[in-house]
């Protein structure tokens, strides 16, 4: 472990050019991540033993209902969980170094330069009384204090260009931009320092379909340009089908399935993924509404055994008593369900 820390790659120095990850292994390795919120009404385990890996240039979709822990996962990876929440254990290894082992100052430096977060609702994440340019310069300066003013400005303008925004946006205020443009400014800030991993938390949930397509195409282009790994958080399976390579399904704080997008849409393994896929509207099945019966459980009172068993079509007697473990099926798919016991 210490060796890995020592070989953590230096921050890329310049520009938005293509960059190759250090080594061959996955650029991101999340292992056994656990987060608990200590609330007045009890302990809520918002992330329970979450593990997955991601390669450079790969796009992972993280889907689940509200309250399933998607956003908590993003915040935990950024180490931005606030009280009453606490990261209880696990590691987030980005390009060789474990983020959980860093001290506060090193973690601050790692944010944006190694792992960047594009927040939900770009409308509210820009400062209304600062020009866009000043906000971008702030972000670079705090990471590269010795870089000259001209170099920083050039870097910011390159970032704006790479998200198809006019260089004039640099001098503008947030209120002068449309929703889609603000979201693209947030993406530009996210890629300023060529991070290894970009986490986009529902980047298009407030936008209409045309703007949504523009924003997603923008993320796709910059992701290719800097060869970063992208985690797209959302609940829109349609968007996932159009954008990601792999899909991870979360339920009540656990990853219940990780598959390639094609496997997920053609042969979902976990009963919850199956229900998600069959509740999707498509051109073929007009007028058929099939929701998932029941409600997402409260994290304070999780059902025993597998948390999904009260809503599960294929529940077996031992599902209510024995908690399933994540298994790697032949072919690399990960499923957390008793149906596949013995297949791994």
């Amino acid at each position: 472990m210490n060796e890995m820390l020592a070989t953590a790659p230096a921050r890329p120095s310049a520009g938005l050019g293509p960059r190759h990850a250090a080594g061959d292994g996955p650029i991101l390795r999340v292992s056994n991540l656990e987060v608990t919120y200590y609330t007045d009404s009890g302990r809520a385990k918002a992330l329970d033993d979450v593990s997955f890996t991601l390669n450079s240039g790969e796009k992972l979709g993280m889907v689940g209902e509200s309250g399933s822990g998607k956003s908590t996962l993003a915040l935990a990876m950024m180490r931005m969980i606030k009280a009453p929440g606490r990261i209880e254990g696990g590691s987030v290894v980005v390009g060789g170094g474990d983020l959980m082992a860093l001290d506060a100052e090193d973690m601050r430096k790692a944010r944006l330069s190694r792992i960047a977060y594009i927040p939900q609702g770009a409308m509210n994440s820009l400062n209304p009384v600062m020009r866009i340019g000043a906000q971008m310069i702030d972000a670079v300066k705090s990471h590269l204090p010795r870089e000259g003013r001209a170099a920083i400005e050039a870097r910011c303008k390159r970032a704006l260009q790479s998200v198809d925004l006019d260089a004039g946006v640099f001098r503008m205020y947030a209120h002068e931009l449309s929703g889609g443009m603000k979201q693209r400014v947030c993406i530009a800030i996210g890629i300023l320092l060529d991070p290894h991993v970009i986490i986009a938390d529902e980047p298009t949930s407030a936008l209409d379909v045309v703007t949504q397509r523009q924003v997603m195409e923008t993320i796709d282009n910059v992701q290719k340009a800097i060869n970063a790994a992208v985690i797209l958080i959302g609940h829109d399976m349609g968007l996932m089908a159009q954008f990601v390579d792999k899909v991870a399904v979360m339920y009540a704080g656990r990853l219940v399935e990780v598959s390639t997008v094609r496997e997920m849409f053609t042969d979902p393994k976990h009963p919850y993924s199956r229900a998600l896929i069959s509740s999707l509207p498509s051109l073929g099945n007009k007028g058929v509404f099939q929701g998932i019966p029941g409600l997402a459980p409260s994290l304070l009172r999780l059902p025993s055994g597998c948390a999904f068993h009260p809503r599960c079509e294929s529940a077996m007697p031992h599902c209510s008593t024995i908690r399933p473990q994540q298994q790697v099926l032949p072919g690399g798919r990960r499923v957390t369900c008793h149906l596949y016991d013995g297949e791994a």
């Binding site: 209902e65 509200s66 449309s178 929703g179 936008l207 209409d208 379909v209 045309v210 703007t211 949504q212 397509r213 523009q214 609940h235 829109d236 399976m237 349609g238 968007l239 996932m240 089908a241 159009q242 954008f243 997008v261 094609r262 849409f265 053609t266 229900a275 998600l276 896929i277 509740s279 999707l280 509207p281 498509s282 051109l283 007009k286 007028g287 058929v288 509404f289 099939q290 929701g291 998932i292 409600l295 997402a296």
Partner: protein, 334 residues
């Protein structure tokens, strides 16, 4: 056959500034008729700024039209008073986008249901009121014992949105304006709410104007669709025909951008032209972004009839027969 609702050349202009007055035409010469005894679900679709919410506000009487009139059951809604106005307020109900903002966090959710019961004198006694509330909640697929007495923060977004539908149902409306009712609800709960809305139309005879930017849900719930862009009708007709075979370049762009959950049906490759900030106020509103724009597009395009259930306002179809904008409703199936 009586008309439930008739919009005659309704326009809404927002102006600001005193010396250099700017005006934005949010809705331009919009005509629509809904029949009283043929409850239907009509989708009004468009991106932000298309005028769809302005239309909802006009129909609910929150703002007044700059030109044209809105006739509800034979009466202009601008001139309604007293008992007539109360009847209109009761019969035209709304479900809004944000299921979180409409609840007062200090009251149990019952409050949302008891206030209209009191206001409109719907119940003779407390027991009667309770029955009515339970009936409405059951009709939208909720268990009253799970809901009544709880506070908004104890319920999920989907449950809250269904309480909103239940509140509307309680008042036995004739028309329901649903402004983006599912855009803030989890995808897995959308199906349930849409089904609730459809049952409302089918079993309770309520006409629904479903306002959305999401053509996927529009396709699944509605019978007919009107596509708006910057206040003008671009295309209208049977929802199947408009979505599977769009004729207006704008609708084509919209349909092309739907993220279908299907790996073999990819997003279109057509590049998207950015929207101009101001845009011109005459001619075809879409022409600055239109890949097919022609010289003639500087004039206002009339509606051209594609077939008996489909019309598009675009000069690409100028060989087809022209129809009056006021006759738009005749195209819409119920």
């Amino acid at each position: 056959m009586a008309d439930l609702l008739r919009l005659e050349n309704v326009s809404k202009v927002y102006s600001h500034g005193i010396i250099n007055a700017h005006s934005t035409i949010a809705l331009r010469n919009f005509s629509l008729t809904l029949k009283e005894d043929e409850p239907t679900i009509l989708t009004v679709a468009g991106e932000s700024g298309s005028g769809k919410t302005t239309l909802a506000m006009l129909l609910l009487g929150f703002i007044t039209a700059s030109a044209g009139q809105i006739i509800y059951r034979g009466k202009n809604i601008a001139s309604l008073h007293g008992a007539e106005k109360m009847a209109y307020r009761r019969e035209v109900q709304a479900v809004f986008q944000d299921p979180f903002a409409v609840f007062n966090p200090f009251y149990p959710v019952d409050h949302l249901l008891t206030v209209p019961i009191k206001r409109f004198g719907l119940a003779k006694s407390k027991a009667d009121a309770r029955n009515k509330m339970e009936e409405a909640l059951t009709a939208v697929g909720l268990r009253p014992e799970d809901i009544l007495g709880r506070f908004p923060h104890q319920l999920s977004g989907g449950q809250r949105q269904r309480i909103n539908v239940a509140r509307a149902l309680l008042l036995k409306p004739r028309l329901l304006i649903a402004d983006e009712p599912v855009s803030m609800v989890d995808a897995s709960l959308r199906a349930t709410i849409l089904e609730t809305l459809r049952n409302l139309q089918r079993d309770h005879g309520v006409s629904i104007i479903y306002i959305t930017h999401d053509l996927t849900t529009a396709y699944h719930i509605a019978k007919s669709i009107i596509v708006l862009y910057r206040g003008s009708v671009m295309e209208a007709g049977d929802v199947d025909r408009v979505i599977t075979d769009p004729q207006h370049p704008y609708t084509q762009l919209l349909v092309d951008s739907i993220p279908w959950p299907n790996l073999d049906q990819r997003w279109g490759a057509q590049p998207i032209k950015a929207r101009e900030a101001g845009g011109s106020n005459d001619g075809c509103r879409f022409r600055s972004r239109c890949p097919m724009a022609m010289e003639i597009c500087k004039e206002d395009p009339p509606l051209f009839r594609i077939d008996e259930r489909h019309a598009a306002s675009c000069f690409l179809h100028e060989k087809r027969p022209e129809i009056a904008k006021a006759a738009l409703s005749e195209l819409l199936p119920v």
